[in-house]
């Protein structure tokens, strides 16, 4: 059992009247959810038995709280189990009982007592324009706060597209210079969990991974857990066979939409979006955007707001008007080229008339030359 004075998750489970059998079943289940082999069950079990609850500090900057809302939608583990039994959520403006000084005290207590041991989670981007005046808390800038807290964090999770990509406030023209956290902080392991918001179970799954294995999950080149962001929505979409068959929805609520054909032509961003929506689905696996008839808007990709309009597969070409795609530019250039060619051909015929006449006359001889397979003189 734990050598730490803080009770472990198994101890909590016992105190809740959970039997050893149920506890082991839960561990096996969690192992499966993490996509780990059955041989890892023992490791997960051990982790949950011996790990004390890790202190978690949850910060809010430029955000809309959809990440917190998504987090509390988690079906496995349930949010009450996480907050009461798995982590010690010492600071979160959304749920904590204390306000004002009492809240600040709780924050600073944890930052001091668990220096280097707490998990920092951030929801929201940090504005850097004009000295950070666009997000101040308690008269301090968000930048100031994030730097202070990051200095003592064991690891950091950036929830959602705001913290990992900048999200909507960073869309053009990004008036406040909203900046994702990984561009501001270094020296702390950072896990990016993008999405607007991320799927609830992706959020809790990332935390469970940290708890169960006491290490950062494998991350891809953009710092995202491979477990949830290694495949495109398109690759796991149940409508994929329609794509391959060339069966597309051509207008919302048309006959093809009623048959659940592919939403590619309606601008679906599934083919360019890395997320687990197609596999895990949303809110306990009930559905996901494509299943409910709307294309993916690519909310876990960087810059997805500027890749609009959402209802067209091809985006606006940068620097042109709202209805300008690469194809329109291409067709226009093609037409211009054709006009240029025609003009050139006409002018050639006029200006090089003599030359051409001579060439036509000479070409008879050239043909002869070729026939003889050797050089010859033009008469």
């Amino acid at each position: 059992m734990s050598t730490n004075s803080r009770p472990t998750i198994w101890e909590h489970a016992q105190s809740k009247g959970v039997s050893r059998r149920d506890f082991l079943a839960a561990c096996a289940w969690m192992t499966a959810m993490l996509g780990l082999p059955a041989s890892a069950v023992a490791q997960v079990t051990k982790a949950l038995e011996t790990q004390p609850r890790i202190p978690v500090l949850w910060f809010h900057f430029q955000e809309c709280t959809c990440c917190s809302e998504s987090f509390i939608r988690s079906s496995h583990p349930g949010i009450a189990d996480i907050v009461l039994d798995k982590i010690s959520l010492d600071y979160t403006e959304t749920l904590m009982a204390a306000s004002g000084k009492q809240a600040e005290d709780a924050l600073h207590d944890t930052m001091t007592k668990y220096k280097g041991k707490y998990l920092m989670v951030v929801e929201g981007s940090v504005p850097t324009a004009d000295g950070g005046v666009y997000c101040c808390i308690g008269g301090r800038t968000a930048l100031d706060i994030v730097q202070e807290a990051a200095a003592g964090a064991k690891a950091m999770i950036c929830w959602g597209s705001c913290a990992s990509n900048g999200c909507v406030q960073a869309a053009k023209p990004n008036p406040t210079q909203a900046t994702p956290i990984h561009k501001l902080i270094s020296g702390v392991p950072i896990i990016n969990v993008p999405g607007c918001p991320p799927i609830a179970e992706v959020m809790t799954g990332t935390i469970v991974h940290l708890l169960a294995f006491d290490r950062i999950p494998q991350l891809d080149g953009l710092g995202r857990p491979k477990a949830f962001y290694s495949r495109r929505v398109h690759d796991t979409c149940y409508r994929r066979p329609n794509y391959d068959a060339g069966l597309f929805v051509n207008s919302f609520d048309d006959e093809n939409a009623k048959r659940g054909y592919c939403l590619y032509k309606m601008g679906c961003r599934g083919p360019v979006t890395y997320n687990a929506c197609g596999v895990m689905r949303w809110n306990g696996g009930v559905s996901f955007p494509i299943q409910s008839g709307h294309g993916c808007i690519g909310c876990s990709e960087g810059n997805f707001w500027d890749n609009g309009p959402f209802y067209r597969h091809l985006p606006n070409f940068p620097g042109f008007g709202i209805e300008t795609t690469a194809d329109k530019v291409g067709v226009a250039l093609g037409a211009a080229t054709a006009v240029g060619i025609a003009a050139h051909a006409i002018s050639t015929n006029i200006r090089k008339r003599h030359l051409i006449k001579e060439e036509i006359a000479a070409s008879e001889d050239v043909k002869d030359c070729r026939a003889e397979q050797g050089g010859c003189e033009i008469k």
Binding site: R232, N242, A245, G246, I341, H344, T348, H354, I356
Partner: protein, 237 residues
């Protein structure tokens, strides 16, 4: 007008011709399939998805020709060192003063038609060479972005070598958009290219079109007094 002496020169060796026509085929196939992938046809049909695979086939053909295109291109780069002087890489990169001079000349004569002085380069003239160099860069760009996109749906090691481009360009969406936009470069290139070879054949009778078939070009000897009517003339020096 002074009589011109036409010399017959073996310019394009078989590998270059093979490359050229395979490349042309690949470009046409890739542009057609690529355009369809970007904007599929609107088909209203009652077929079940399990009975059809046309879009899958379009994509497959695109990927197949991407490989052909890439290795063909790779071979051409090799031939830029191994082939004859007209195939040499030095024709493509204007690093010498006289190449820049020729570029100005060609633009004045052939494009703006300010001058009637004929340009007598046997292989590619400097403008053509430079244009081909730009196309090579575009080839490279299309290969990197294309295989970068393909990497996500392939387990093979080859496309994985290009996966780095995706985060570099800020995600699949941006890579896809640029990959798509560059398709138009090739369409425009093809238009101009076909016109110009016709132009030279028509105006100057130098056998540009047939040369890609036979390998031989006709040039006016007075501008190239040292020229011999032999295959060895094109050999690397």
């Amino acid at each position: 007008m002074q009589k011109a002496t036409l010399g017959r020169v073996y310019v394009w060796e078989i590998p270059v011709r093979f490359y050229h026509w395979l490349n042309a085929l690949s470009l046409v196939v890739l542009c057609v399939t690529g355009y369809l992938i970007g904007a599929p046809l609107a088909i209203q049909q009652a077929t079940e998805a399990s009975f059809a695979y046309w879009f899958g086939k379009v994509r497959f053909i695109h990927f197949l020709f991407a490989y052909i295109f890439f290795f063909n291109f790779l071979f051409r780069i090799y031939w830029g060192f191994a082939g004859n002087r007209y195939a040499n890489w030095k024709n493509f990169i204007p690093y010498r003063k006289n190449q820049w001079k020729e570029i100005k000349q060609v633009i004045a004569v052939d494009v703006l038609q300010r001058d009637n002085t004929p340009i007598e380069t046997i292989g590619h003239n400097a403008v053509a060479g430079f244009t081909y160099f730009m196309t090579f860069l575009a080839f490279l760009f299309q290969c990197v972005t294309g295989f970068g996109l393909y990497a996500a749906m392939s387990k093979a090691w080859f496309p994985k070598m290009f996966a780095w481009i995706v985060p570099l360009m800020g995600g699949d969406f941006a890579v896809r958009q640029w990959h798509h936009a560059f398709m138009w470069f090739f369409i425009l290139f093809a238009l101009v290219h076909v016109y110009i070879v016709f132009y030279h054949d028509y105006v100057e009778g130098r056998g540009e079109i047939s040369s890609m078939g036979s390998g031989w070009k006709f040039i006016e000897k007075e501008y190239h007094p040292t020229l011999k009517d032999e295959k060895s003339a094109g050999e690397k020096k």
